[in-house]
Symmetry: C2
Subunit: 397 residues, 2 copies
C-alpha cells in the first residue's frame, strides 16, 4: 500500500475511531468493533456498481458495443479525494472495489454503526449524462436489477434507489412503474447535473410516476457539467476539484428555485424531493432570499401560493453529508432551527467515499428528540420504514 | 400613470418614507425632504447610460451600424420588477429615463440621504456579453467618456466605474490604463455573467492593470446566461425572474471559489474584489464549506496558502443591496460576525432600481462603530476617499 494514501484517511472513517488497524501492509478491521447503541438509518451508501458487475444485466447488444468501444459514458472531470475517491480502509482486505463486498460492508459500517436501514445509491449516476437515451435506459435497468439480485435480496436492512434515465422522462416513468411497486425500492434517484432545472415541465412524467408509487425524488450530487448536462456553474467550467465541490450547492439551488417557482408542488402536492451531498446550511440564507423575492415578485408567478420556505419545509428533505462545520454550537442551533431540521434533515454517511461522515463524529451533539429524528425517524417516515422499537428482534435475511 | 405600477412601489424607496407623494397623476417629490444625519457613501448608483446618451461618444462607424441594424447587444431575458425595473418614483417628473437627470437624483436620493459619495455604475454592463470584442470595447470607452463628461464633472460627490470589455482582457487593460489614472474613476466594473470564472488566468491582464492603478475589481450582477456568457445556473437556463435572481449568488460563488483556488491572490496580493448585488449572507455557509474542503484537499492546490475565509476577509468586499432579511437580530449579528462585516461590508442603494435599499430602512440597527464602517468608512478606505469629518464644509462643483 502506498504510504501517501494513508495520510488521506478521513478522521470520520470507521477506521478513524481506532476500530481499524492501518499498517504499511494495508487496512484491516481489528476485530474489536463495539456496536453503536443509537439506531441509525443511513440514507446514502454507495454499493459498488461498476460495469463489470452490471454487464450481465445489460442486453447483449450493449454488452457487445461496450466490449468493442468502451463504456461511452461521461466521467469525472476532476481529481477526487482519498484513494480514487474512496476511504482507504473501505477497500475490502480480500481485494475488489470499495463498496463491492457486502460481508465487508457489514463488518466495516452496517453492524458497528447500528445501521438499521441503509439506502443504497450505487456508483452509476454518470449514465444520466449520456446523450444516447436508449443506452442510458438499459444501463439504469441493469443497475436496478443487479441491486435487487445482489444486495436487497441478501440483507433486509438495505433498501434500493430506482436509477432512471432522467434525460428521457417517458422511459424514466416506465422504469419507475417496472420496479417501483417493490417495497424494497424506496426512492427515485437522479444526478444533480442537468440540462434544465428539475422544476421544468419536461420532467413531469417522472413526478407523476413518483406520486403514483409514493416514492421520493432524490437529487444526488453527480455529473455537474458532464456529458449533456449544463456547465457546472453559471460562470462556466471550473478548474479544480475544490471548485467543482463548491459548485454542487449552486446547482442544487437552481433545482430548489425551479421546483418552487415552476409550481411543481401545486401540481404534485405530495411529492417529496431529497437533496443529497450538496451540503446543508447554504439552504438557510438561500430561503431568506427566495422568501424576499417571492414577496416582491409573486405577481409574476401567481400559482406559487406559499412562501418558498414553507414549500421547503413541506416538500424537501436534506441528507447530512457533507455538513458544514459552524463556528460554534450556537450558530449550529440557529441554522438547525431555520432549516426546521427536526422535520427536514436525515443522516447519511456517503460510505465508502473519502469524505464519509461517521455517525459517531460528523454531527455536533443534539438534544435527544432532534437526534432521533435526524438519525432515524425522518428517514423512516419518508421511506415508509418501521419506527424503531428497542425491544424488537432484528430480522436479517 | 398606470395604477398597477403604483402597487410596485418599494417600501424602501425614497418615496416609501413619505417624502414623496404618489398620486394617479404620477410620483413627485413633496418638497418636505429632511436630510439624513449619518454621512453615507453609496456604492451602487445607476446613472442612466442608455444608447441615446452614449451614441455621441461612439466612433462614427458604430453609430452608423447601430442606426442601420440596432444595438446588437445581449439584453435581459426575464421580466423585471417595479416599472421597467425602476422605482416608479425614480422617473423624473419632467420626463426622461430613471437615473437620467442629475438634478432629480440630487433631490430624490443624494441630498436627503446625506450621500457624501456615490459610486456610479450605469446601465451598460450588457455590453460585456457581446461576442464582437471591438464593438464591446468601443461601447465601454463611450460609457467611460460620457460618465466623465456628464456626471463626474458636474458633482464632485459622484465617482465613476471603469467599464471594460472583459471578454478581451488585453483591450480591457488598455482601457484601464487610458482612464484609470483619474482620481474620480475609483473601480473597474464587470458583470457577473461570464464564460470562465474570474479566477481564470485568461483575465490576468485585467488584474495587472487593476493593481497598477490601485483599483478594485467589482463584479456587479448582470448578464448571467446572456450573450456569450455561460448558462445562468449549473442546471442550465431558468424560466422565471425570481429564479434568475436566485441564480445571481450561484454565479458569484463560482467567481469566489475561482479567485481563491486559482491562486489569484497569491499572484496579486493587493487586489481587492467587490461583490455587488448578489446578496450577502450566502457567503457565510459558503466559506464554511470552502474552508472544510481546503483542509481536506489542499494537496491539490498547494499555492493556496491560507484558509479561503482568510482570503475573503483580506481580499473581498461586499455591498449590501439586496441584503437578506434574517429571522431575528441575533441571527443577523452572527451572520455579520462570521462575515467580518466591520471590514468587508459596504452600503449601497442600487438607485434607481425597483429593489432600491434606503439607508433609512434597509439594514437593522447596528452599534455605531459597525454602522459607520458599513455606511462610510469601509468604502472610503477602499476607494481612497477622505474620512468623514463632521465639521468639514462640503464642497460641490
Amino acid at each position: 500500500m502506498n504510504l501517501q494514501a494513508i495520510s488521506y484517511i478521513n478522521k470520520n472513517s470507521p477506521g478513524g475511531d481506532e476500530r481499524m488497524q492501518v499498517t504499511e501492509e494495508g487496512a484491516k478491521p481489528n476485530g474489536k468493533r463495539s456496536k453503536l447503541k443509537r439506531p441509525i438509518i443511513d440514507c446514502d451508501i454507495h454499493h459498488y456498481t461498476g460495469f463489470d458487475v452490471l454487464k450481465p444485466y445489460l442486453p447483449r447488444a450493449y454488452r457487445e458495443l461496450i466490449h468493442t468501444y468502451g463504456k461511452a459514458m461521461p466521467g469525472g472531470m476532476h481529481f477526487n479525494g482519498g484513494v480514487g475517491g474512496r476511504m482507504v480502509d473501505s477497500l475490502p482486505p480480500d481485494g475488489g472495489p470499495a463498496g463491492g463486498n457486502l460481508e465487508y460492508m457489514r463488518e466495516h459500517h452496517l453492524d458497528p454503526n447500528n445501521i438499521h436501514y441503509g439506502i443504497l445509491t450505487g456508483e452509476s449516476l454518470g449514465v444520466q449524462g449520456t446523450i444516447n437515451f436508449d443506452y442510458a435506459a438499459a444501463c439504469c435497468s441493469a443497475y436496478n436489477d443487479y441491486t435487487i439480485d445482489h444486495w436487497l435480496a441478501k440483507d433486509s436492512r438495505l433498501k434500493g434507489s430506482i436509477m432512471i434515465p432522467k434525460q428521457d422522462p417517458i422511459q424514466a416513468a416506465k422504469e419507475i412503474d417496472r420496479v417501483g411497486g417493490r417495497s424494497d425500492m424506496v426512492q427515485v434517484l437522479v444526478q444533480n447535473g442537468a440540462f434544465f432545472p428539475y422544476g421544468n415541465r419536461y420532467y413531469y412524467p417522472i413526478y407523476e410516476a413518483c406520486v403514483r408509487h409514493h416514492l421520493p425524488f432524490t437529487i444526488h450530487v453527480s455529473g455537474e457539467g458532464s456529458g449533456m448536462n449544463a456547465q457546472p456553474t453559471g460562470a462556466g467550467h471550473v478548474t479544480h476539484y475544490a471548485e467543482a465541490r463548491a459548485a454542487r450547492p449552486q446547482v442544487m439551488m437552481a433545482h430548489v428555485a425551479s421546483f418552487i417557482f415552476e409550481g411543481v408542488f401545486e401540481r404534485f402536492p405530495t411529492l417529496k424531493v431529497v437533496l443529497q451531498e450538496a451540503g446543508v446550511f447554504w439552504i438557510v440564507p438561500y430561503l431568506w432570499r427566495l422568501d424576499q423575492d417571492w414577496k416582491s415578485l409573486r405577481v409574476q408567478t401567481p400559482w406559487v401560493q406559499k412562501k418558498p420556505s414553507e414549500y421547503f419545509r413541506e416538500n424537501f428533505r436534506v441528507t447530512t453529508q457533507p455538513i458544514e462545520e459552524t463556528p460554534n454550537l450556537e450558530v449550529f442551533k440557529h441554522m438547525m432551527d431555520s432549516l426546521h431540521a427536526k422535520e427536514t434533515m436525515m443522516y447519511c454517511s456517503d460510505y465508502p467515499h473519502w469524505d464519509y461522515d461517521s455517525p459517531l463524529l460528523a454531527l455536533p451533539r443534539m438534544e435527544e428528540e432532534l437526534a432521533h429524528r435526524v438519525y432515524y425517524q425522518n428517514a423512516a417516515d419518508l421511506y415508509n420504514l418501521p419506527p424503531y422499537q428497542p425491544e424488537e428482534k432484528e430480522e436479517r435475511v
